[in-house]
Symmetry: C2
Subunit: 215 residues, 2 copies
């Protein structure tokens, strides 16, 4: 096992960022989905669930931590700083409604990754100033996965955000193999996907198709 | 301001434990309710809300932290270890679906308080072994505040739990001025209430009536 250094090569490790959420995986367990996505070339995994209790999130997180370490993937927990720390995740991903970045940083320390969802250039600049390590920006395209997402920004909106900050930006929202290249051409370090991979009948094939579109 | 020592006199400080939850306070803000309850003799406050975002919980927690310090109350955050740490609460209260006690203790350290909800003698003994500092046991009486609570244990069930452990036990569920003495006579260190105080038109008077019934 490599020495634990979550932030080394962060930009590269954000290339294909798969968000696992039980609500979109058709009843398949997180471990099964993550292992299949990793075989298809996923480089990072985020565990997200509004449906799981904190205890279930912790237990799932522990097993994803083991799996992602074995398979060499970055492992991020959504929202819950406490769960991220308890399972020794590489980082946490925060939305604008979660703990403020500064409070999360005090708990997470400098060594771990904090990602932040942003909708606008202003939010992106503020998150960079606040010490975020990477940004998730979107929705780039229309998406069925997140009903509360803001208006579609398109590749042009994403490009503005990528130009405004030095930290890596991952595009999210409605991204699949057919449009992933547009996201990279806008300056993103990678693409974040939920349903395009997690809802696919063949998760490995879906991840592989996306990965091929990125390189 | 006293030196920060959350666990000193813990048993005494659990005497009148008011849980503030916006769902039960008729639209009144947490700060208003806590200040009023403190004037009536509340000794401990727990901030609980399934409706608030983590950011709102954090911001409310910060202001309750200031207020409870000024007024000399113990301050506990429900469920979220990260929020409890971020606002420098005295402790966290965990249910059986929250982070496991051992994981929470690693994050909270020895100095802060961890309370645990228990329904049975077995859960109480397990929580004590796991290092809980106090227990919340109930529902002692039938309660409208928590639809997912287990069967009513009555003062006799509470007594069994109090006898089984050395750490202080707070009774919860359907407790008011009329039956609070039964809870104390069963061996509890205090009573935890939501609606009996938080939903009262006059929060201070409701707290005072309860407090009088306890001493």
């Amino acid at each position: 096992m490599a020495v634990f250094a979550p932030k080394s090569d962060l930009r590269k490790r954000l290339l294909l960022y798969v968000i696992v959420d039980r609500a979109f995986s058709g009843g398949r367990g997180e471990e099964e989905v993550v292992a299949a996505a990793a075989r298809g070339g996923a480089t990072a995994v985020q565990l997200r669930s509004k449906e799981l209790t904190a205890r279930q999130l912790y237990l799932t997180g522990l097993s994803l931590r083991t799996l992602t370490r074995q398979m060499g993937l970055l492992f991020i927990v959504n929202d819950r700083v406490d769960v991220a720390l308890a399972v020794d995740a590489d980082g946490v991903h925060l939305g604008q409604d979660d703990l403020p970045l500064e409070a999360a940083r005090r708990l997470m320390g400098r060594r771990r990754i904090i990602g932040m969802s942003v909708d606008t250039v202003e939010e992106a600049e503020r998150a960079q100033r606040g010490g975020a390590d990477y940004l998730g920006a979107g929705p780039v395209f229309a998406t069925p996965s997140k009903a509360d997402a803001g208006p579609v920004m398109g590749p042009e909106g994403l490009r503005e955000i990528c130009r405004a900050v030095r930290i890596p930006v991952v595009g999210i929202g409605g991204i699949g193999a057919r449009n992933a290249r547009q996201v990279m051409e806008a300056g993103a370090a990678g693409v974040a996907v939920i349903s395009a991979v997690v809802s696919a009948p063949d998760v490995t094939a879906a991840a592989r198709a996306l990965r091929s579109a990125l390189v």
